[in-house]
């Protein structure tokens, strides 16, 4: 099973009621897999006429209390931004998988991490956040799906999974957990027809004087809760490190190889890998920062997450960026070289 299919199966096992999608490379395995498996399960699959329609079908299904998701790749995710803003405004749980490819524009179909800003900083209009995950292997891609649906329901928020072309296409053995999921609050806000109760309304429009301002404060209070409780981050050989490489997703996988190699050659390198990109592990990164260390941020872009790392470190340590955009995939050798270069101590020179 490739990453795309494994993720899809995991979503189905997490209780997905409806999948809506539109073909785009490199995530076509998802739509194909869903078309077959959702029919087998007697659940809903629709190949929509556009990504705009797909995200609005998610909007409709979610408003009735169903678990709904869509997947796409970068240009298609751009088209969904209107819908994602409305999902955030109307507080509708939903899961959106972006198997990122090179951009801007039509770009190419090679793996990329160029959509970090779009996912983490908003993307659509208005003051809002989505929970954003950046899995770095097929097993993690699989493990995140039930969690993503649970968090979406718990906080009534859209959850974005930022994968990339490599993760979508690569094959690894996986286990889909059968562990029981936590109990979630009842969805008493959903639209089911107003039989025996007062009317429910789902909306993102608040015209009364000051109502949108208050709605925004309420959203922000929810975001602060999420920041408090839902940050996920991996630290690897950080304690004694002279250089800490920060990377997420598939780039972090490559970085791990480079860190191992550096250690074998006597360079004290470590890795910090944000698993949630929003909320961002600012505190975890900040705690490791001091003037004796250097931070290297590696991304498959021209440098996006590096801005959040710099904000977290707030000048307490030097932060260097290295990356490759537009479908360029860093090699272990390249990251190792960069690590070595940054840790050469000038005073050791003769």
């Amino acid at each position: 099973m490739c990453g795309n299919e494994a993720m899809a199966e995991s979503a189905i096992q997490a209780g997905l009621d409806a999948y809506f999608g539109y073909p785009i490379t490199p995530q076509n395995e998802v739509t194909a897999y869903m078309s077959k498996r959702m029919a087998e399960e007697g659940r809903v699959f629709i190949q929509s006429e556009s990504e705009l329609a797909a995200i609005n079908m998610v909007f409709g299904a979610s408003a009735t209390g169903k678990r709904a998701m869509t997947s796409s790749s970068s240009p298609g995710i751009s088209l969904m931004q209107e819908g994602i803003s409305y999902l955030a405004g109307a507080e509708l749980p939903s899961v959106i998988v972006n198997v990122m490819r090179g951009g801007p524009g039509l770009g190419n179909i090679a793996p990329s991490q160029g959509d970090y800003f779009q996912a983490v900083k908003g993307g659509g209009h208005g003051d809002y956040h989505c929970i954003v995950f950046g899995p770095s292997g097929v097993q993690e891609f699989v493990d995140i799906m039930p969690l993503a649906f649970d968090l979406a329901d718990l906080y009534r928020i859209p959850v974005i999974i930022l994968a990339d072309g490599i993760l979508g296409q690569m094959m690894e053995p996986i286990v889909i957990s059968k562990k029981p999921r936590p109990k979630l609050p009842p969805k008493d806000w959903v639209l089911t027809g107003a039989e025996g109760r007062k009317q429910n309304i789902v909306r993102s429009l608040w015209l009364a004087d000051g109502a949108v301002e208050q709605h925004n404060y309420d959203l922000q209070a929810k975001y602060r809760q999420i920041e408090k409780k839902e940050i996920r981050c991996e630290q690897y050989k950080v304690e004694d490190a002279d250089i800490i490489v920060v990377a997420y997703g598939i780039a972090a996988r490559i970085v791990r190889g480079a860190v191992e190699k550096a250690r074998r050659q006597g360079i004290k390198a470590g890795l910090i890998r944000p698993i949630t990109l929003w909320p961002f592990p600012s505190e975890q990164i900040s705690k490791t920062a001091d003037e004796l260390r250097i931070f290297l941020v590696v991304e498959m872009s021209c440098g996006q997450m590096v801005e959040d790392v710099r904000l977290a470190i707030a000048g307490k340590a030097p932060v260097v960026f290295w990356g490759r955009p537009g479908g360029g995939v860093p090699t272990v050798e390249q990251v190792f070289e960069k690590t070595r270069e940054l840790t050469i101590k000038p005073n050791k020179k003769k």
């Binding site: 809506f20 929509s48 705009l52 408003a63 009735t64 709904a68 789902v202």
Partner: protein
Amino acid sequence: MMQKVFTRPRTLKDCPTHYCPGCGHGIAHRLIAEVIDELGIRGKTIGIAPVGCAVLAYDYFDVDMIEVAHGRAPAVATGMKRTNPEKIIFSYQGDGDLAAIGTAEIIHAAHRAEQFTVVFINNAVFGMTGGQMAPTTMLGQITATTPEGRRADGQGYPLQVSELLAILPGAIYIERCALASPSHIRKAKAALKHAFELQVKGAKGLSFVELLSPCPTYWRLSPADAMLWIQNEMTKVFPLGRLKG
């Protein structure tokens, strides 16, 4: 003894609306509410409000309601109806919403034979944003963005959405009515009832009712003259009657 012979439908809330004097939305709302009451489906109906003058429809209909992005109602309705086939889903959309920005969504909902009901309010103008040209604006009609009157050359012809949809096998019932006189309004009610009944029966496709509706404010006409303008002018381009089913 006093007997109550006329009252507000249960499905319509007892509150003033924000609509202009002579606007057709109030009539259309009432007809839909009467149909929902008569079919006894209030408890399983979900309505979809558009972006446009009727964006606040959720404040007037006493059923579960959702407010959605401009033009996307048919996609939202698709997501709802497919996951809840036993519910009655209707979208209520104006001509900017359905005939301009939402053309893809309505055509593909019909194309997929989605089993919900669409009420399409055609008043030949964008109301909420200040009376700009709509795709359904009549030739020669003066609007905020056609100060010299709409010209076919450069601004196109009035878009006949019902005729477009009628060629699709997935649209099983399409009728155009007018809210332009008591007899027209009675016919509109019958059409709406038929559309909802088809959905209740589980008919396999889209039911769609277009209502030519007065906008005295942006037509710069009195409410009475607006009714006459529908009868004498609009129906020339948008002929009334059942197009399908």
